[in-house]
Symmetry: C2
Subunit: 136 residues, 2 copies
DNA sequence: GTAGGTGCAAATTATTTGCATATGT
DNA sequence: ACATATGCAAATAATTTGCACCTAC
């Protein structure tokens, strides 16, 4: 996922490629800590000093609809990550830090399990709460 | 989980057993569709016509702290269920309906996952999105 | 030029808080 | 009697919406 894929996807759908959209997208790509709307607003504001929260939200919704980002809900606040392969979220109940856990084996097992249940999930959201290294 | 266990737990902690607390607890036990705070308020209001949302929220937090209920976040709203054995939530992205899936296989999946990452989770929240029978 | 996007301000929704009054023990 | 719980109303936080203006195409 990079600017070029955004350009391609947007062009195909007749959506305008605006500097705000590029900047929000960049902010999500470059953040490794699952930023919330406000975090993204703060990052993007450094360049587009007059971007509004409303625009940030609209763009985030759009990117989600286009399957380019994924929301993660923690403590009543939506956070975002670039769409990627199957993984699990390990969340710290103290500070809210999210760590992505990847494993091919677990992915296989999830697919096997859901298919045996005759379910093809549209998506899944698997979270595991444990104290992070800073908080334990 | 029934009124008697509530009485026992509350007595042990020196907490008052009020009609509101019993009623909120009953409402969660008797609902099979993961009610939100407002649903519970509506149910309890039929008997305690002047109960307030604030009291409902306070009681829900208390029951959660006492490990008697579990919150499930869907579309920015907290919903609740009585604490029970390991299961996952199958959620409909259209109507928000939640189905509890109990399965030895899924439990195995989770045991494999946590052992692979060598984590003993405080808790987990596994949701799988699929269209429910009404919406598909 | 025009459809669609942005920014502002106001509205909405879910939840929390402060505090005076009421109630369980 | 006394500590604790409740109910009201006001506050907060995250997000959404309406609408006039702006900009990518």
């Amino acid at each position: 996922m990079d600017r070029d894929s955004l350009r391609a996807i947007f062009k195909k759908r007749g959506l305008k490629i605006t500097p705000q959209r590029l900047a929000v997208f960049d902010a999500v790509i470059k953040s490794d800590n699952h930023p919330c709307a406000e975090d993204i607003f703060n990052i993007v504001s450094k360049i587009h000093s007059n971007i509004s929260m409303s625009t940030v939200y609209q763009i985030l919704h759009l990117l989600e609809e286009l399957n380019m980002i994924t929301p993660i809900e923690v403590d009543g606040t939506q956070r975002f990550e670039i769409k990627s392969n199957f993984h699990i979220h390990a969340i710290c109940p103290i500070c809210g830090d999210i760590e992505d856990l990847y494993s091919k084996k677990i992915k296989k097992f999830w697919e096997l399990t859901t298919s045996e249940f005759d379910i093809k999930p549209i998506k899944q959201d698997i979270r595991l709460f444990r104290y992070c290294n800073n908080c334990k």
